[in-house]
């Protein structure tokens, strides 16, 4: 009975996926899983149970897509037969779809290991269903409060779920985020801390979007010796002494190389590794650090890590480089979806180059973006003042974004509002002087729209193949 149920679930779900793509509804990255789960609720659990090398989950507000992609590249370089939700469908139906697409007719896996980036709200259920051998926790920032609620609530749910992990599991975590370190504190599993140690990248003081500035043990304000951004840094509670755990895997040197990437040096218990990661910004250096820590925890050798990370390509819309036609200008697409991520993206563009910036910012307020655009006021767009040659603003909340830039000090005559995204893209490209790069900052659904537009123009492949 159970096998018949699984087979039925698989057949129906796969047919739905093929139909969805043929009928032009998109990649079918969630629907098949949703159908299969309705017929056979245990389908993902049984599948994961049969994976010889087990399941890896990656969660965090920012960086999970890029970090998963980096870890996947390392595992593939190491010869692991891997399945991975690389199209970014990170709710349980998405995870289940990946499982179905990699299962034989009995529902058993055709790979040895699964790597899933997991949505913040879905992590507890994903832990319960997949019994992961490794969980990587990146950070917790405010994000779509209309959907997720407060980060305190998410942190509590994560901790409850992680307490159910078998003692043989490993949790690799970001020691620089006090919210994450608190979740992991005294968990009865193996824990591996990673953290930033190149203090040249610290900023002066705690920023206004720091969410977890208060000690989770006693409520007193943390003292920061170093702060890198938001609430990420080296902290200690002056009242109870609760402090940042010492990372065993530390980013000791981060040498930025403009928009081309960074040179990194990472210290680990058995030595040191150095490589160039071809993705720019502190953020991506941190993602590379997290992927390295996870790979080391899995026992992968350092030369494999270096080879894989020095060849990494940007994930879909994560500072992804695309040419507008065969001889057209370069577009750099950087998804923005929450205040900390948007602020860091702005910081990356304004520090990587001294040239005037050419921007297209597209803000939508559909469900997947978060229907509340209040976050635009928590993000720091102020560094763009005096730095923007031209910015085209688009999306369902273009007027809000234009006002945000106006109040951030961007010259009002540099701002053009065009609601329709394809028209906005044309305008932005037309305003671009030869040799310059167009930086595109879309929210999630604006990025999908943009992707389908540039795919239609033949400039890029569809996202589920990217």
């Amino acid at each position: 009975m159970s096998r018949l149920r699984t087979t039925t679930a698989l057949t129906l779900a796969r047919t739905a996926g093929i139909l969805s793509r043929r009928l032009g509804f998109g990649g079918g990255t969630s629907l098949p899983g949703q159908l299969a789960r309705a017929i056979d609720p245990a389908i993902l659990t049984n599948f994961c149970h049969a994976l010889p090398a087990g399941v890896i989950l990656i969660a965090g507000t920012n960086g999970k897509t890029t970090t998963s992609r980096m870890l996947a590249a390392i595992l593939e370089q190491a010869g692991v037969s891997l399945l991975h939700n690389r199209a970014g469908a990170n709710l349980l139906p998405g995870l289940t779809t990946v499982a179905i697409n990699n299962a034989d007719w009995r529902g058993l896996p055709r790979a040895s290991c699964a790597l899933f980036e997991t949505d913040e709200a879905a992590l507890p259920q994903a832990i319960a269903e997949t019994h992961p051998r490794l969980v990587v926790l990146l950070n917790l920032f405010r994000d779509q409060l209309d959907r997720y609620g407060e980060i305190d609530t998410i942190a509590r749910h994560w901790r409850q779920a992680l307490q159910q992990l078998p003692a043989t599991s490993t949790v690799v975590f970001n020691a620089d985020d006090p919210a994450i370190a608190d979740i992991v504190h005294q968990l009865p599993v193996r824990t591996v801390a990673f953290g930033l140690a190149d203090e040249r990248h610290a900023v002066g003081a705690a920023t206004h979007i720091a969410d977890s500035q208060f000690c989770h043990t006693c409520g007193h304000r943390y003292q920061y010796q170093r702060i890198f951004y938001a609430h990420i840094g080296h902290y200690v509670c002056p009242q109870c002494g609760h402090r940042r755990p010492d990372p065993v895997i530390a980013l000791t040197v981060l040498e930025p190389r403009g928009l081309e990437g960074s040179d990194l040096q990472i210290d680990h218990p058995n030595g040191q590794i150095r490589f160039h990661v071809p993705l720019p910004g502190l953020y991506n250096a941190q993602n590379a650090l997290a992927a390295t820590a996870a790979a080391l925890a899995l026992g992968i050798d350092t030369s494999t890590i270096c080879i894989a990370l020095s060849q990494i390509q940007a994930a879909f819309g994560r500072i992804e480089r695309i040419s507008a036609g065969s001889h057209g200008p370069t577009m750099l697409i950087a998804l923005i979806k929450n205040p900390v991520g948007a602020s860091e993206t702005v910081r990356m563009f304004t520090t990587a180059t001294t040239r005037p910036l050419h921007l297209l910012i597209a803000i939508n307020d559909r469900f997947a973006d978060g229907t509340d655009v209040s976050w635009l006021w928590d993000a720091d767009f102020e560094p763009l003042a005096q730095r923007v040659a031209h910015v085209t603003v688009s999306g369902t909340r273009a007027a809000d974004m234009a006002l945000r830039l106006d109040y951030a000090g961007v010259a009002t005559e540099a701002i053009t509002v065009i609601d329709d995204l394809p028209t906005a893209l044309d305008t932005a490209l037309a305003a671009l002087p030869p040799g310059e790069t167009l930086a595109i900052l879309p929210t999630y659904t604006a990025m999908l729209e943009l992707r389908s537009e540039i795919t239609r123009r033949g400039w890029a492949r569809p996202f589920w193949e990217a």
Binding site: I209, Q213, F214, D378, L403, T412
Partner: protein, 248 residues
């Protein structure tokens, strides 16, 4: 004469969710563009404040943990001075958690009564359902009716006593309690409501009203607020009001 206004930002580190600092950005921009200096003074737990020197105060929303950490400081340390200043027409804008904390009390799910400052004649009862979405309120601040737009996200239901005037009537959304169409409350120069968005950037009529009230209180009723265009602000407001009213 250089006009200067002093704004007390209540507990900026604890009460800072949902982009509420956009309200400070809006006040600063619309002051600066009129050559009015706006001094922002953060008020953190343990700080001593001379409320008589303040012209404006802003009090945003926070996470529950943040709210719990500052409530006693608000009531015990700042209470007497802030209460007296509000009675003397200090211009106050309080959003969400800040609004609730200016009321009499918050009644939790377990029946616990968490006291507020009690300067606004409102009280809040914990609700089961979270009220989330865009909101439009029709207001009249003395220059004719207009529609104020924002985003609400709260489960507390706030009810008014006779000591406050409603800020406006809810056209779209839940409002203070989801029942009586009241959206926000006014007492003297204190304004409280649930509107994030942030509220002030897209509602320049209210921003200017608060600045004007503060200027007249400080520099005398003959002071006129210099006219200032608000094209981008009003476009953002109109786009959302039209979209929301057309879906009713």
């Amino acid at each position: 004469m250089q006009l200067t206004l002093r704004l007390a930002h209540l507990y900026p580190d604890h009460m800072n969710v949902y982009g509420d600092r956009g309200n400070i950005i809006a006040l600063r921009q619309r002051c600066q563009r009129r050559h009015i200096a706006l001094e922002v003074i953060p008020v953190n737990p343990g700080d001593t404040v001379d409320w008589q020197t303040m012209d404006l105060a802003f009090f945003g929303g926070g996470q529950d943990s943040g709210q719990a950490l500052i409530a006693s400081d608000l009531i015990e340390r700042q209470g007497p001075g802030l209460r007296a200043a509000i009675a003397a027409d200090l211009v106050v804008l309080a959003i969400c958690g800040g609004y609730q904390l200016l009321g009499h009390y918050f009644l939790t799910h377990t029946g616990e009564r968490l006291p507020g400052l009690g300067v606004l004649d409102v009280y809040t009862i914990a609700g089961k359902r979270r009220m989330i979405g865009n909101i439009v309120i029709e207001v009249d601040l003395g220059k004719g009716p207009w529609q104020l737009v924002g985003f609400e996200n709260h489960s507390g239901r706030t009810f008014h006593g006779p000591g406050v005037q409603p800020l406006g009537r809810v056209l779209v959304g839940y409002g203070d309690n989801g029942q009586d169409r009241k959206g926000g409350a006014i007492y003297r120069n204190t304004f409280g409501c649930y509107l994030h968005g942030a509220l002030l950037p897209k509602n320049p009529q209210l921003t200017d009203h608060l600045i004007e009230l503060a200027l007249r209180r400080r520099y005398g009723t003959q002071v006129e607020l210099a006219p200032l265009p608000a094209e981008r602000e009003l476009t953002a407001q109109r786009v959302m009001v039209q979209r929301l009213l057309s879906r009713r």
